[in-house]
Every structure is written in C-alpha cells, then in structure tokens.
Amino acid sequence: MATPNAHYGFAERWLPRLVLAPSFFLTLVFLYGFIAWNGYLSFTESRLLPNYEWAGLVQYQALFENERWWVAVRNLGIFAVLFIGGAMAIGITLAILLDQKVRGEGAIRTIYLYPMALSFVVTGTAWKWMLNPGLGLEKLMHDWGFTSFTFDWLVNSDMSIYTVVIAGLWQSSGFVMALFLAGLRGVDDSIIKAAQIDGASLPRIYWKIILPALRPVVFSTLMILSHIAIKSFDLVMALTGGGPGFSSDLPATFMYSMAFTRGQTGLGAASAMMMLATVAAIVVPYLYSELRKDQHG
C-alpha cells in the first residue's frame, strides 16, 4: 500500500508538467510551427494559396527589387527612430517632472497613461479625423480666421508617415512615463541625499546618478517600443490605410497586402521573414546578455 506521501510526491512531480503541457504544446505549434511553415512558404512559388514546390530564393529576389518594399523599409526606419526616440524623450521628461512631488500626481498620471488603454485602431481613427484638412485642425484654424494655415501631412505623400509618428507618440509616451516613474521611485533615496550633501545640482543628479541607475528600465522600454514599431499595423491601417498611394506603408502592411489581397503569398512570406529577422536582431542579443548575467548569478 502506497503511503499518502508517495502519492503527493507523484503529483508534485507531474502536476506542473501536466498543467504546462497544453500551453507548451500550443506555443510549439502555433508559434514555432507556423514560423517554420511561413519560412518554408517564402522559398516557394506560392501564389493565391500555399504551394510546396521548392523554388529557392526567387521571392527574396523579387522582394529586394520591389520599390514598394523599400518604401516600407524606409518608412519603418523613420517611424522607428522618431517613435522610439520621441516616446523615450517625452516619457522621461514627464516622469522627471511628475517625480517632483507635484500635487494631484495620481490624477495627472492617469491622464497621461490613459491613451495606452485605447487600441491603436481608435487612436488612428481619432487622429485621422483631427489631421484631415477638411475636418480637423486645418479647418478649425480656417474657421478661426487663420486662412493661410495649412497642415495637410495626412494627404501629402511625403509627410504621411510623420502623422503615424504623431499618433504613435500620443499613444505610447504616457506608458513610457509610467515605466520610468516606477523606476525613479525605486532609486535609493540615500544616494540622492548623499549627492545633495556633496552639492550636486538637481539636473546633475538626474543625469549622472539617477538615469544610469535606471539602465534596466531603459532597456526594457526600448525592447517594448521597438517591437511595437516593427509589428505596427493597425495604427497605419486606421490612420492612413497605407496611403496616399502606398507612401505610408510599413513592412507589416506590405506583407498583408501581398499575402492576402494580391495573389503573392510567397512574397508576403518572404517579407514576413525579413521582419522576423529584424526583431530577432534586436531580441537575441538582449536575451543572450540577460541569460549570461543569470549564469554569473
């Protein structure tokens, strides 16, 4: 007869594995399995529907000769730099200002954080109305009598990508602020007091002591923002629909229109692999350095 203890030991050993198995299995199939499938499709001549005949690198060749793809890549460059840089700068500034023990901090924090609660589709649609020359800001200024005022970035193919940046910043800056505010609160007060006794000015304390102490926060924020930037899709679709023309296309919208609305599944798969490679180029070194740190204990 087995003792109750032996039963317990069995459950203790197997229960976690059993509970984790479904999610492990699902991740394996639906994430890594589909990545592999997509990778394979990118080496085929797939048109309307998937086709499994090996065709080598033709899709990648077609991709690199496609002007629209390069427009999308260039837009991603502009968007990523301005979006990540801008959101970090605005977020840190707001966090430092809020850190000065202002009255009503809770309310202000909520106001700034609130855009994060909206989906990008809502943000995009709202900004589409505000930036539309015939409906929003430009019309308002004209109605107020400033008839020479123009702000037509939304319908200007050279500037349309910047409207995506504006809406993205509005959405994400508050979130960055919240992350940094939490980080700032975590910095040991005694270090700051010591610096103050040594006669350091407040900007100097922030620049030399507090921000360096926030290195982990900076890294996680960068990670979050850069993957938002690379996979950005809904914001562009809602705000500009990729237009005018295809001037505000991003790789994600390019992939969607090739794979789903035109019969070019293979080309879409190739562009998706390029996006995956970009994300991997950012995430893998980060994970590597994090894991190595763990080993050193």
């Binding site: 048109r47 309307l48 319908v155 899709f233 237009g243 295809f246 609305t261």
Partner: protein, 414 residues
C-alpha cells in the same frame, strides 16, 4: 475596417462548424445602397426555391477584403458554396483546383447560346463552366450633375479638350468640378478611362491586355499620364482615401459636378431618388463613346465536402442565369444583363444605352476588358500596376515619363 474584417472571419468560422445541408453560403461584396438591394433580390429568389440563404457579405468596393476572407476560408478547407470572383481570377482559382463544375446546368439551359463568347470564355475553366455571370458593367462612364453645369454655363464634354474647358469653367464659378476618391482601385478606374479616351482602343489593348513594354513606355502613354495628372487640380484635398460612393454622393448633393465611375454609381443615384436624364446624366467618358470597358460580375462555385449542398449550388447557378433574375437584379445594380436575350424594356436610358453600346462594340471589336476591375491581368500584375498609377497620382514630383517607366516595370510582375 480591420476589426470588421477579423470580425467577419471569426464569425464565419464560428458558423462554419454549425453548417447544415442545403444551405447556400454566398460570399459577395455588394454592401452599398444600390448593391445591397440587388443582393437582397437574389436572396429572395433562392429562398423561393426552397434553399437556405446564408449571407457572407464583406464590405469594400474593389472586393479586396472579400478576397482576403475567401482565401482564409479556402485554406482552412471550408469554402463558401459560391463567391463573387471575376475575370482572370476565375482561372487562378481554377489552377488551385478548388472550383466545381456547373457544366450540367449550363448545358441543360443552353448558356452558350445566350452569352456572347467574350463573356462565356471568362466563365469557363478548361472548357467547363465553373462560374455564372450576372451582369455587365460599363466602366467608362462620366456621371454629371447637369444643374451645376448649367450654373457654370458649361457643356457636357465629349473630348478631353472639352473636358478641361468645362472643368475650368466650373472652377471659375466656384464649383468643384470633379468628385474623386483617392483609393488605388479608384485611381486606376479613372486612369483607365483616360487611357482609352486619349490613346484609343488599339493602344488600350496593346498596353493593358497584351502588356506590350514599348506601348507602356511610349509617347502615347506619357500623354495619357499627363492628361490624367491634369485632373488633380480639379479635385479636392480630402479625396485621399474616400470611398467611391461618398464621391458619388458629392455629385448627387451638388457638392461636385462630375465623377468618373462605372455604372454601379447609377444605383447610388437611383437610391437617392434621382431621375436619369433629368437630375443626373450618364455619358461615356471623354473620347470613349465608341468603346466599352466591361466589368462582369460572376459567381464561381467551390467544391464542397457536403454533397447535399451541390443541389443548392446548381439552383444558385440556374437562378443567377434566369432572365427574370438578370432583369430585376440589374435594374437594382445599375448594370445590364449578361445574357443578350433578357428583356430591356424596363431599363432606364442609361441601361438601354449601355446595352446598345455593348452589342455594337462587341461587333466592332472595341469591347475591351477593364483591367482596373480585374478583367485583364492577374491579381499580382494588376496590383503592381495599381501601385505605379497611384504613386504617380499622389507624388507631385514624379514626371509622366518616369511614371511610364514604372508602369512598364510593374507590368512585368508575374
């Protein structure tokens, strides 16, 4: 938009599991006023034959969203009974081996006798009917609000020179000359009419049907592109991204005087209670009076696992081709029947003119497929050409010559 799309995909997947026999699920993209009415007629007739109609409507004028939804369903092995597919796309789907033959119905009802060959060829895959045509749209129309033209003392243009005189007169009178929707398929719809008017039928066929590089990059094409771009000052700034039916409503409401659009626009006028010939005019786009760019809507049938559903499919094919349906459907949709023996008496002057021109141009060889509406090129090529046209329209720094080079490059997309 996107949420809607996913919603539809999700909804269709959830119902799919509960699918029952003799239910006919039909994917279409007739969602705006006049079109939705036409779709409702089809539903009524199918239900009259004892079938259960399941509507699978996906919004978006050019049908791009509908094709996305369709692809999802076919890949998952659960296609709808029939889907609105047209032109060379029928062949593309045929190549994938997912279409079902309806040749038995077609033989029994003698479709070959009532359809012009230019139409029936498109409906067949390897000699067998796989799709049923419901209508013929003419794309090269110009819709005119005569009251505004009268106000500006301008006349209805028949050539491109006249068009620009009229447009300038309208603008001088403070009226917006052209209602325009800045979406890629609409850009190409207008561009196609310009090309036909400026370049003529032979040029059109060489450039867009045969995709001849010399024609695509030649001086006539440069002239076509220049003429097309000259339209831009006569449109408004907010045109970017506007849906076609909103542009049509600008003509209906007197906010703009003219619009280039296929005859599905007529449905919008009629739905607003306007009378053709009095409240609005339909004229051939400048310089294209003797030609006809056709866009044929058709339903392709998909192979289904459920054998009971095949009866529904055959009923559907037979209903779609019946003269009674073709008449009532096209009265609502603004197009003309695909079968040449359907009664035309109830049609208004736009419809009758269209039918006369259809038969006349078929005889003269000036009946040309509308490439902007998927009647001439494979979807990948068409998409690339869309990109070139839309880029030229939106980028004011691009010269017509560069654009012609881009077009030539785009036409090479396979």
């Amino acid at each position: 938009m996107r949420n809607l799309k996913w919603g539809i995909v999700a909804a269709s997947m959830s119902v799919a599991f509960a699918a029952q026999a003799a239910e006919v699920e039909v994917l279409h993209y007739w969602t705006s006023g006049g079109e939705a009415k036409a779709a409702a007629e089809l539903k009524k007739m199918m239900e009259g034959k004892g079938n259960k109609w399941k509507d699978f409507a996906v919004a978006g004028g050019g049908g791009e969203n509908a094709m996305t939804a369709l692809k999802t369903r076919v890949v998952s092995g659960n296609p709808p009974a029939a889907a609105q597919i047209k032109g060379p796309s029928i062949q593309e789907w045929g190549d994938e081996g997912v279409l079902a033959s309806i040749d038995s119905v077609a033989k029994k009802e003698g479709w070959d006798k009532v359809l012009p060959p230019v139409v029936s060829n498109v409906m067949k895959y390897k000699g067998q009917y796989v799709a049923a045509p419901v209508n013929v749209h003419r794309v090269n129309w110009l819709w005119v609000n005569p009251e505004l033209l009268k106000k500006a003392n301008a006349k209805v243009p028949t050539t491109w020179d006249e068009f620009f005189v009229t447009a300038a007169a309208l603008q001088k009178a403070g009226i917006q000359p052209l209602a325009y929707g800045g979406q890629p398929w609409q850009d190409s719809t207008v561009f196609e009419s310009v090309a036909l008017g400026v370049g003529g039928v032979d040029f059109y066929k060489k450039a867009f049907v045969q995709l001849d590089p010399a024609t695509l990059s030649g001086p006539t094409m440069v002239k076509v592109l220049e003429t097309y771009k000259k339209l831009k000052p006569f449109t408004d700034k907010n045109a970017a991204g506007r849906e076609w039916n909103l542009a049509t409503s600008m003509v209906i409401n007197g906010k703009a005087a003219m619009q280039f659009m296929g005859d599905w626009a007529k449905g919008e006028f009629l739905a607003a209670g306007k009378v053709p010939g009095k409240d609005f005019l339909c004229v051939a786009a400048p310089g294209t009076a003797n030609a006809f760019t056709f866009n044929i809507d058709s339903f392709a049938m998909f192979k289904l696992k459920n054998k009971d559903a095949e009866k529904g499919q055959q009923d559907l094919a037979s209903t779609l081709m019946s003269p009674a349906f073709q008449e009532i459907f096209n009265l609502n949709k603004g197009s003309i029947p695909a079968r040449t023996d359907a009664p035309m008496a109830k049609f208004d002057e736009c419809g009758q003119k269209s039918a006369t021109d259809f038969k006349a141009s078929a005889g003269k060889g000036s009946l040309v497929p509308s490439w902007a509406h998927g009647m001439a090129m494979k979807s990948a090529t068409q998409g690339a050409v869309y990109d070139a046209v839309t880029q030229f329209w939106n980028n004011d720094g691009m010269s017509a010559k560069d654009a012609a080079a881009k077009l030539t490059q785009a036409a090479k997309t396979k």
